[in-house]
């Protein structure tokens, strides 16, 4: 007999601890006891991303969704649901208003994610325009070209409340209005795909998974602003994204969705790709424009803003990849629909690249206003290896760290800025107890100093000074005055830097001095790094009493600085030790002491 029901038990790390294993076994036993072995299959699955209500059991094909299941419920689920076909009501998920939801379809967004930007990623073949079209692709363009005036398009975007996803959160409609209002014989639209902050890959994935959505959006933007030419500025290190864009552009041109007289509407629009060499500062809009013009990519003072005088002196609007990817949906589903998602000031969703000490790392797209706790624990499945949460770094080198106290802050532009971080492009790096805050901050500062273009003094000199002080602190040579000095330099850089690279470089430092002052103090006063990351502050020694002389550490040590006879306590030569920690990881007897 063929299987006709599948019983999925969430075996994600979050649920594992709460008895998912027993539920799984009990379900199997019950299935057997009821003679359903050939008809029902019980399997363990990855995380369903609903850990707060776990463990979860889902029955396919009817999609019944049981939450907070206990091992003893297994028998009931099998006897009632699988044998008699009657769902076990008390275990079904209840929505906030106490209505029992039967299937996950009824559960309003139980998964916490809403995919607008990523609507097609992982669903369509990005190299096949027909699949994009079948999923309402170019429907927005169609509507815009044949049913709407440029002003109506801008009005719809205004209604949606969409703000730029490239970091600053500038209202998209306003940027478009400014550009379209500047009198000119030519205007340009640019897509900023320079995404270069460590840990971020949202834009790359969007372009790889759904390139046409950005092409369609740029064409709509061109129509709305009276521009007939667009540029995509993308870094050369993204070869797959570039390839998929090129394929998509070729298809669009062949099909008359790009080029002259699009779909017979009389509107012309074409796009060119420009490759960036991978300097972080070239993501800054004025530097990006310089770079497209063939000059060295350095920021220039604003105003004039690009919307007034941009590429080759013409009015230009620059938007981020993710900003664009929202546009076709705003047109097809309406600005009001979009504005119904999110918070009062931040509408729609945000894509985050969730990485670091987290179980389910990956790309997530959540409505604005989702809390960090939901992202870290429900979607991310909690901290790896059961370690303790320390902080989330948001916004990359321009952002800050959010401590445990901010876990329940709803994420939107304003609330992140208020706590000294920023939305940035959307990298979220989860830090746990084995990460050292000072060390992490130094990593970002290193990056910013390396990427500074050197044009203005606050950034060029201030950044270097900050890095020197941090370096001192990680070597145990810091003083209390150093903290105050860093704050002073930081405030000055925020105010006096020419572009936001320098203006945001101090953010990681300033936010950590605020939230993790005690860790700085530990480094300064006690010369101690509790996470053991600041190498100059840790020593590895063998505890003679515990060492049984197994020689494992000596063989693992990359610099051969551990010596000792077999079965006798070993010794580490401190003058040669490079503090790699290999001996600590290798010793099975807890005989290596990190202090």
């Amino acid at each position: 007999m063929a299987l006709n029901n599948f019983c999925l038990v969430c075996g994600g790390t979050g649920c594992e601890s709460s008895k998912a294993d027993d539920i799984f076994k009990n379900l199997r036993t019950a299935v057997e006891a009821h003679g359903l072995t050939g008809q029902v299959q019980v399997v363990k699955t990855g995380c369903f991303g609903f850990c707060e209500k776990g463990p979860i059991v889902k029955i396919l094909p009817d999609e019944s969704f049981y939450v907070e299941v206990k091992p003893e419920d297994a028998e009931k689920i099998v006897a009632e649901h699988l044998v008699k076909g009657r769902p076990v009501k008390e275990l079904l998920y209840k929505t906030a208003d106490q209505v029992t939801a039967k299937t996950e379809e009824d559960i309003q967004f139980y998964q916490k994610q809403i995919r607008i930007v990523l609507r097609n990623c992982g669903i369509i073949n990005p190299e096949d325009v027909q699949e994009y079209i079948a999923r309402d692709g170019y429907l927005g363009l169609e509507k815009v070209l044949f049913e709407m005036t440029p002003q109506q398009v801008i009005d719809e975007v205004k209604k949606s409340g969409l703000r730029g996803r490239g970091g600053a959160g500038y209202p998209t409609w306003l940027k478009w209005t400014n550009t379209s209002k500047t009198p000119a014989d030519q205007r340009y639209v640019i897509c900023n795909a320079d995404e270069g902050d460590p840990g971020a890959y949202m834009d790359r994935s969007t372009l790889e998974g759904d390139p046409h959505s950005v092409l369609e959006a740029m064409t709509i933007a061109g129509y709305a602003q009276g521009a007939t030419k667009g540029f995509i500025y993308i870094r050369a290190e993204y070869p797959l994204a570039i390839h998929r864009l090129e394929v998509a552009m070729k298809q669009s041109r062949e099909m008359g969705l790009m080029g002259k007289n699009i779909l017979g509407s009389g509107f012309d629009f074409d796009i060119e790709i420009r490759l960036g060499a991978g300097a972080f500062v070239c993501g800054e809009e004025t530097a990006l424009i310089q770079s497209i013009e063939g000059k060295r990519g350095m920021p220039v003072p604003k105003p004039p803003f690009p919307s007034v005088s941009g590429l080759w002196g013409k009015p230009t609007s620059i938007n981020n990849v993710e900003t664009y990817a929202n546009i076709p949906v705003i047109i097809t589903k309406g600005g009001d629909w979009f504005a119904s998602i999110g918070t009062a000031t931040s509408k729609g969703t945000k894509v985050f690249a969730l990485t670091g000490a987290i179980n389910n790392s990956g790309l997530v797209e959540v409505p604005m206003g989702t809390t960090l706790r939901e992202i870290v624990y429900d979607i991310g499945g909690g901290i790896k290896g059961g370690k303790a949460f320390k902080a989330v770094q948001s916004g990359g080198p321009s952002g800050g760290v959010l401590p445990a106290a901010s876990l329940d802050t709803p994420i939107d532009y304003e609330s992140l800025t208020k706590i000294g971080s920023m939305m940035g492009s959307g990298g979220l790096i989860v830090l746990c107890e084995s990460d050292c805050i000072v060390d992490v901050v130094k990593f970002y500062l290193d990056f910013s100093v390396e990427e500074s273009c050197g044009k203005c003094a606050p950034c060029r000199i201030g950044g270097r000074k900050l890095l020197n002080i941090l370096d001192k602190i990680t070597k145990g040579k810091g003083t209390l005055e150093d903290l105050a000095t860093m704050e002073q330099i930081g405030f000055a850089m925020q105010r006096a830097s020419l572009c936001m690279l320098g203006g945001t470089t101090p953010n990681p430092i300033l936010s950590t001095i605020k939230f993790f002052r005690e860790e700085y103090l530990e480094h300064i006063e006690q010369k101690k790094c509790r996470a053991g990351k600041c190498k100059d502050l840790v020593t590895y020694t063998v505890i003679a009493d515990k060492c049984i002389g197994c020689t494992v550490c000596a063989r693992k040590c990359p610099v051969n600085c551990i010596s000792g006879e077999r079965k006798a306590p070993h010794v580490i030569d401190q003058s040669k030790c490079i503090k790699c920690g290999a001996c600590f990881d290798a010793c099975k007897f807890g005989a290596i002491l990190v202090s």
């Binding site: 990855g46 990623c121 027909q130 759904d210 779909l263 790392s361």
Partner: protein, 128 residues
């Protein structure tokens, strides 16, 4: 292309996407081929599917490549859509698991334990 042709193409495409529900016999294997998937070995997985299908002479299967599904911690990810089985996303599909999927999911219509994942969200495009 004219507006009419675009609309016709969209309609035809939508029908093709819905057809499966109506009992079409074709099987779709959808492999996530973003940078993250490829780095995790999605190409080897894809090859394993092709070889396994060839060696078992299974012909009613289309293999599709898509972008990142978002489960970067469990790449390579693969979705199987076929008649008589619910749509299933599998994670951590190495060549060995790919062969298991062909053998178990496609031929025997049984799920492959420990690799099943749930879709991260509802489909806003289908929701009118």
């Amino acid at each position: 292309m004219t507006l009419q042709e675009l609309r016709a193409m969209r309609e035809a495409g939508q029908k093709a996407m819905d057809r499966r529900v109506g009992g079409d016999k074709s099987i779709e294997i959808i492999v996530g081929m973003g940078t993250c998937g490829i780095a995790a070995g999605a190409k080897e997985t894809l090859d394993a599917f092709v070889n396994e299908l060839n060696s078992k002479d299974i012909r009613n299967v289309v293999i599709k490549q898509v972008g990142c599904m978002g489960f970067c911690h469990s790449e390579p990810t693969v979705e199987i859509r076929m008649d008589g089985m619910p749509d299933i996303i599998y994670g951590n599909v190495d060549p060995e698991t790919a062969r298991k999927i062909v053998h178990s999911h496609i031929l025997e219509k049984k799920l492959v334990d420990k690799h099943v994942f749930d879709r991260p969200s509802k489909d806003i495009v289908k929701e009118k």
